[in-house]
């Protein structure tokens, strides 16, 4: 909505030209010796604000110049110079898959406690040492990887890598810290288990992955409550290992010096020659089928989540699939948003996105609606899937999605943190920085036909499975009438 009114405002050169004739003393000032005007002057002149210049196409993206070093330990260190701000962004990605729900509970506890002290630093000292150089470190985990995210004033990079090395090689897992974080985590899990979106996500994971570990991105609180320091030390020794892991450094640095220095600082982080960070086993392919409806007592809102098989980033047809997803529901100007939000008001936000696991990719559609709008919104979402899978999108739709894809990629790569995260993501996907150069070129070359073919295979309604969470005492008969819905 805002988008449209903005276009209307800027596309009126007539009145601007007319006003300039009647410009009074302000024009005299702006034509004076100094061409610079303050923001206030610009806002107040009779001419008014100048029109916003038209959009230009995103420029060509080059692959960044980077240094790469593989250490004897098997850790890969990558550094890129990007001196936009006097900072360095740090990402350490450790593949961290497991095969039991207990692993996911322990993994969640491990990231909550691994940065809370070492043999030589208590938890306050870790933070104090980082603070002095404007640094921070955070750890997180999902079914695929453990990630340590950090940033620091560039002069403090040696201190940050030293603290990181200390946490990796000599973590304390002090009992008091472990118990404290465990209570906090159990409470957090209890709170989030009451959130409908969390419940819907869990049901979706079960629906598409059954009991494959890819489904376990929320640990079981009862299992978390039993995790103690010994289990964490054991898991750390076994699984927080350098072989297969990648450290990315981006910022105000010299790439070759930075990889050498980080390599030296982390040289003590080692494990047995056969110890390798564990990659998730490929989850089963996502198979289309009935949506499974789950009852939520007295719910006034419903959650709808659909998911179907997509293609991997390395697939030559990936750029066309990316654009097909954008046109369907991947950005605000998409068909799904236009239909169920702008036109019919069934939802506040609706979106579809692509997700990736080893050898498996998914397109996932998510929106929440009021109970009375649930079945109609599902009907429209399916209608839009059917429409885009059967009828080719217009050239304008493809161009708009392409510009959005190129523009958002350029925007995210323009920041130190965005570039660091993207390089780390690529390392996890088995790709490298050449993707940053090649992918925009591929996006630019995608044809309408290719998008239509991608949509026909990926967005056909029969490709999807999913879940509905809501008050089934009200919804059941409508959902049965709509069809392709089973009831849990």
């Amino acid at each position: 909505m805002a988008r449209r009114s903005k276009t209307a405002d800027t596309a009126r050169p007539g009145p601007v030209a007319a006003d300039s004739d009647s410009a009074d003393s302000t024009s005299g000032r702006t034509n004076g010796a100094s061409a610079l005007r303050t923001a206030e002057e610009i806002g107040r002149t009779a001419i008014g604000p100048r029109p916003v210049p038209p959009m230009t196409l995103a420029g060509r993206t080059r692959a960044p110049t980077l240094a790469r070093l593989e250490l004897d330990s098997g850790l890969t260190v990558v550094a890129v110079r990007k001196p936009r701000s006097p900072l360095v962004e740090v990402r350490l990605r450790v593949p961290f898959a497991g095969s039991t729900p207990l692993h996911s509970a322990r993994a969640e506890m491990l990231v909550a406690t691994m940065l809370l002290g070492t043999g030589s630093r208590d938890r306050e000292q870790v933070d104090a040492d980082l603070a002095l150089v404007g640094g921070h470190l955070d750890a997180s985990v999902d079914p695929q990887r453990l990630m340590i995210t950090g940033s620091v004033l560039s002069t403090g990079l040696p201190v940050l890598t030293q603290v990181l090395a200390d946490c990796l090689t000599d973590p304390a897992y002090r009992r008091a810290d472990v118990i404290g974080e465990r209570e906090r985590l159990v409470e957090h899990l209890a709170i989030s288990a009451t959130q409908p979106s969390t419940v819907a996500h869990k049901f979706l994971q079960q629906r598409r992955f059954a009991d494959h570990p890819a489904a376990w991105d929320m640990p079981d609180a009862d299992l978390v409550a039993r995790v103690g320091p010994a289990a964490l030390r054991g898991l750390h020794t076994r699984a927080v290992v350098p072989r297969g892991s990648t450290l990315v450094l981006v910022g105000d640095l010299s790439p070759s010096k930075a990889v050498e220095a980080a390599g030296a600082a982390l040289s003590g982080w080692s494990a047995g020659a056969d110890a390798r960070a564990r990659t998730l086993t490929p989850p089963p392919a996502i198979v289309g089928g009935d949506l499974l409806a789950h009852h939520r007592n007295g719910a006034v809102q419903s959650q709808i989540r659909l998911s179907g098989a997509a293609v991997l980033r390395r697939d030559p047809a990936y750029p066309a699939h990316q654009l097909a997803n954008l046109i369907y529901g991947g950005y605000f100007s998409s068909r799904l948003v236009e239909n169920i939000r702008e036109d019919k008001g069934y939802t506040y936000s609706a979106r579809s996105s692509l997700e990736f696991w080893p050898e498996t990719a998914a397109v996932s559609v998510a929106f929440d609606t009021t109970t009375p709008s649930t079945a109609p919104a599902l009907l429209e979402a399916r209608y839009e899937l059917g429409r885009i899978s059967l009828l080719a999108p217009t050239a304008e739709e493809v161009d708009s999605a392409r510009n959005y894809a190129l523009g958002t990629l350029a925007t995210s790569l323009s920041t130190q943190s965005g570039l660091a995260s993207t390089l780390s993501m690529l390392a996890g996907a088995g790709l490298d920085e050449t993707w940053l150069r090649d992918h925009p070129a591929h996006l630019a070359a995608v044809t309408v036909d290719e998008v239509a073919r991608a949509a026909a295979s990926m967005l056909a309604p029969a490709n999807f499975t999913g879940v509905v969470l809501g008050d089934l005492s009200v919804l059941e008969s409508e959902l049965r009438g709509l069809g392709n819905v089973a009831f849990a």
């Binding site: 923001a39 900072l87 000292q125 104090a128 603070a131 640094g135 921070h136 403090g156 404290g180």
Partner: protein
């Protein structure tokens, strides 16, 4: 902002009180006494310093369990403020606060969209877009005495307290 330097003393104070595990209130109230599970402090209701025109408010927030009375958390915070008012911050504390502030400022404004928003907000609220790049230097000019004075001015007897209490589980 009538007294920018005085205001920035509160920014430093907030960092010393609650920025990170080594901050005074985290250490005393969350880690050692276990009175609260989380605690935070900052000038401004909208999420950050300089996000409002003069006068602004200083907000101290905490999440604590129902077993702990709110007064226990507030008293413990007041006690730490009194110590800071009497003894002032240490040299290392000042340096940590400045480094953390500068790196967060650079990081938050590294993106062109967020930098543009920040410049616009500084211009609209304070008439000085250039304040954004001057802040690290201005902050480093804040003295320990100013921070102690800021702590002293936060009179626990004059603060407004908002408590959000969960309804009894049904």
């Amino acid at each position: 902002m009538a007294d920018l330097s005085g205001y920035l003393a509160f920014v430093v104070l907030a960092s010393i009180l609650t920025d990170g595990e080594s901050s005074r209130l985290h250490s005393a109230i969350v880690a050692k006494a276990s009175l609260a599970t989380d605690i935070w402090a900052s000038p401004g209701l909208l999420g950050g310093p300089l996000d409002a025109r003069d006068p602004d408010v200083f907000v101290l927030g905490a999440i604590h369990s129902n077993d702990v009375p709110a007064s226990a958390v507030i008293d413990a915070a007041a006690e730490q403020l009194a110590v800071l008012a009497d003894d002032g911050p240490g040299d290392l504390e000042m340096r940590r606060a400045l480094a953390r502030f500068a790196s967060a400022l650079y990081r938050d404004n590294d993106g062109v969209a967020s930098r543009t928003r920040s410049l616009g907000s500084m211009e609209l609220l304070h008439g000085r877009a250039e304040l954004l790049s001057e802040l690290p230097d201005l902050l480093s000019a804040v003295t320990p005495q100013q921070v102690a004075d800021a702590a002293r001015s936060l009179d626990p007897g004059r603060c407004a307290v908002l408590r959000v209490v969960p309804a009894e589980a049904s």
